[in-house]
Subunit: 143 residues, 2 copies
DNA sequence: CACGATTTGATTGCGTGCAATGCTTCTTCC
DNA sequence: GGAAGAAGCATTGCACGCAATCAAATCGTG
């Protein structure tokens, strides 16, 4: 049983890196990384967010997000601004260029789904649910 | 459908990071990282390996493995030696300390399985198979 | 109002991942 | 045997991911 457990961890690890590599080649023409793309998707769907809001959605902390958002700002994709109401808070909003990428990158989800061999059937739903359980279980175990 | 595909990628990404975090807390007393632990597991089970052999098994290249193995050597866990038969090849073998860790870390697989909520039933086998398919599909799509 | 605790981001340091490049060493082909 | 090509690692540069720490701003309480 031990080896199987090892293999499940490693299978996750390998699958994630393979996915990231596919994203890399898809996003390379736009100079985007996968986490940067995730930021844009979040901003497209949910609108401007605080840094901590992005952190919750992506499950990342400021140590990762701050430099990432700084690079995206330098690339003209997002804008950061201290809240006038609470100067501790930084609001992150997509620029026009950032918004325009939504159209230019509209092909990406289908391309990824194709590369993954995902069709959206019940098996895929079960996989998704299992991954969510697994993630929640891991986080619970840490506490 | 697009959002679901996004979610599957992200679910993988989040699950992997959650897993790595669990490993981090488990391995922290030994100063090991998850990839370093994987190297040790490979050496325990399959014996001494070349760098490229480790690279195949872990799906990592020398750009990642060289500095990682260098740190492990500095920590006294592995030894590297140029092959006498072919001086291009570097053989990686666990030191006595590296071998001793097999016993000290024997609790790790069960701890991870527990944190994951894995019991080894058919669902888990299916998840494992699906992840392997997904990884293979991704690699095939890159070619 | 003042002061300590809390919240929110930013910074620093380190270890991956990975593309690109370089350096030996080996193999092949003539 | 000698040169061209390939193979195997190492190095460099950059972008995460995350723990630890810091700084600024706000809140709560007396």
């Amino acid at each position: 049983m031990a080896v199987t457990d090892e293999m499940l961890c490693f299978a996750l690890y390998a699958a994630t890196r393979a996915t990231t590599q596919t994203y890399r080649s898809l996003l390379e023409p736009w100079g985007l990384t996968y986490p940067q793309y995730l930021v844009l998707v979040t901003l497209w769907v949910e609108g401007p967010q605080t840094v901590s809001g992005l952190g919750e959605r992506m499950q990342l902390d400021s140590g990762t997000l701050s430099p990432l958002l700084k690079r995206m700002e330098e690339d003209g994709l997002v804008q950061r601004a201290r809240s006038t109401a609470d100067a501790r808070i930084v609001e992150v909003a997509p620029t026009e260029r950032g918004i325009a990428l939504r159209g230019e990158l509209a092909h990406v989800p289908a391309a990824i789904a194709g590369a993954m061999g995902v069709v959206g059937d019940r098996d895929d739903e079960r996989l998704l649910a299992r991954l969510h359980d697994l993630t929640a279980s891991m986080h619970a175990a840490r506490a």
